[in-house]
Symmetry: C2
Subunit: 380 residues, 2 copies
């Protein structure tokens, strides 16, 4: 990747939030951006037409899942994941490291990779720092990440150091593969930064990245069970160690509130299953707080999910009808609630970007987070 | 209902097929028409925007299911089922008779109705010939049907006679309720005609209808397990007993082949869960036959489900991707396959109507049914 792929367009004068423009092989993405998760090449319950209508220009897909099913040869034969699934926006791929550790059976980790059995059919596989890059190159995703070791919280300093040391070694091992794969596929490289909640380990990780050619940084190891206060203090400290001119992506965040916090830490990209997963459990986001569509209060309630929302679901369907569909497990309801929640997230991200551009981010963040109906932070 | 609500626009010169126009409180419907099933007020996996895009102008909903959940008061409070679900085309409601018999617990049938317990929560209910009309009036559906007794196949002449006798008595008992409910809701009345596969019972049923004011006839008691040859001979004989000028609706038909057969018997309206149910099991209809999208032959196959289909699913998505989604149980696939199958059914019904209008129905039917890839009739 040559040339300027990331440009800062605005900085919040009173804090660390920033707005920018990320140029990828599949178009420009305004940041801060929230990327819905398409684990298996589908944002659950939505079609690619829905993503287009929602204005979604960036998604995350999971290398581990796609590597196992349908497999890289099929996606490569289609010309890559964009063509396979029919999405022409930016795709960032997770390295699979997190999934190997959390999903695979009988895994054995060594200095050069992970051997494991598929959680689907028990077949034997091995992923190495180089092979996960090759997987992502076969998928032709726009942003590649590195195989990493992501410890849960709480985690001793020794465990965190061991995970970081291995992650740094794997990052180094992936560099030649990145260089090789770039010859056929122009993608951005986002090494994953670990270090748990230990500031000096995060500093060591950031310093290590100084010797690794990269276009962006993926901040891993957060949103793994730690208290929210520790998430934000770690994230802010970590982001402040990173070069200004490269995009910062924090993995696994967020909720409507958390994306404000992450943006406030100077983060540019985020992904999380939260908005789509809770939608499938009936939870809807609104400008007056969240609630579950299945609640008795929706019975006989012919107002929209969110009276202030212009999405097609809110323009067309009532809470009473959606509650009936949800309680009857009618399939369409999962699409409708997912669509609405992502429309809400798009609105939130627009508010964040607009407030940064207007120099009033901290004020807008405070107003959003102090809306009384939202659950207190840490209350997930 | 006053005035001309059904108009024949064409008759097949070589057979009994006919084309027409049905005028309902919610628009005109060209016949023969296939009505997708929205049991609980939702055509499974589709939104009302999908129905609009598919050109679906008529659906069937189930009184029994909607009466139990969400219940008539909620739907009536919304102003009827059209407003409740957000569909402005014609809605025909099943009487619930079939569902009471097949789904409810502890049912007791007497001369004046059915007492039963809900299959959802065990609550006690009673439906009578009058109350099912009142339910349908509360739903404000466009076409109402009568409480009936629908015996399975095989069924002795005695059982068939008993079921018919009770159905005729219930039809008579429903007439005052129809008259009363019509004062607030202008709907078409379709008494259900029973008689199993016994021609002289069907004749008796048809004669009985001569004394009942009605706008159309619902032909019940078919598609209940009998051989297809018997379906068509019974349907043809029954249809020939009915007045020319009233629409004939056969319940529970059909497949892409069966709608040709039913139209050939002189039937104007049909409904069936088949196209939508099999879609959720991965079976797709195409101009070259049916197959299951999960089949190995879809692996690495980047052609559309049906290369001759102009629907958005076939324009956008490949067999390989849909197979991957289906095998991964990704929710969106149920919508995509359902949409395609209903698009196919709309095309088939258009072919039927166009061929009747052009005086070449029998020829078109033969061509469609002799396409070798379709499974032989009776092969469901």
């Amino acid at each position: 990747m040559t040339g300027q792929h990331f440009e800062l367009t605005a900085r919040d004068p009173g804090g660390k939030a920033r707005a920018g423009l990320l140029r990828t092989p599949h178009g420009c993405v305004e940041t801060p951006v929230f990327m819905p998760v398409a684990t298996l090449g589908s944002v659950k319950a939505l079609s690619q037409e829905d993503l287009r209508d929602l204005g979604v220009r960036a998604i995350l897909a999971n290398s581990y899942h796609l590597y196992l099913r349908p497999g890289c040869p099929e996606i490569a034969a289609a010309g890559g994941l964009h063509r396979y699934m029919g999405f022409d926006g930016m795709i960032l791929t997770d390295s699979g490291g997190f999934q190997v550790m959390s999903l695979a059976d009988l895994r054995e980790v060594d200095d050069h990779g992970v051997s494991f059995r598929s959680h689907i059919d028990g077949s034997a596989h091995r992923l190495t720092p180089a092979s996960v890059i090759e997987v992502q190159a076969a998928l032709r995703s726009d942003c590649w990440t590195t195989l990493d070791v992501c410890p849960a919280y709480p985690c001793s300093r020794e465990e965190a150091l061991a995970a970081l040391t291995r992650t740094m070694s794997w990052t180094d091992q992936s560099v030649p593969a990145v260089r090789r794969c770039r010859e056929v596929c122009e993608s951005l490289f986002f090494p994953i930064l670990q270090g748990s909640t230990y500031p000096e380990l995060r500093r060591r990780a950031a310093e290590h990245l100084g010797g690794v050619p990269h276009e962006g940084v993926a901040i891993g190891g957060l949103s793994v069970g730690e208290p929210k206060e520790l998430t934000w203090s770690t994230l802010e400290a970590t982001a402040s160690l990173l070069p200004e001119g490269k995009p910062r992506y924090v993995m696994g965040i967020g909720t409507p509130e958390d994306v404000w916090e992450a943006a406030g830490c100077g983060v540019d990209m985020m992904d999380c299953v939260f908005p789509t997963r809770v939608a499938r459990n009936g939870q809807v986001f609104t400008r007056a707080g969240r609630y579950n569509i299945g609640n008795a209060s929706s019975r006989g309630n012919f107002s929209p999910v969110d009276p202030d929302c212009p999405c097609f679901v809110c323009r067309k369907y009532t809470r009473a009808y959606l509650r009936h569909l949800f309680n009857s497990r009618e399939l369409v309801v999962y699409r409708l609630l997912t669509y609405h929640n992502l429309h809400f997230m798009a609105w939130v991200m627009g508010e964040i970007r607009r407030s940064i551009a207007a120099g009033r981010f901290e004020e807008a963040k405070k107003a959003f987070l102090s809306s009384p109906p939202f659950p207190p932070r840490g209350g997930e």
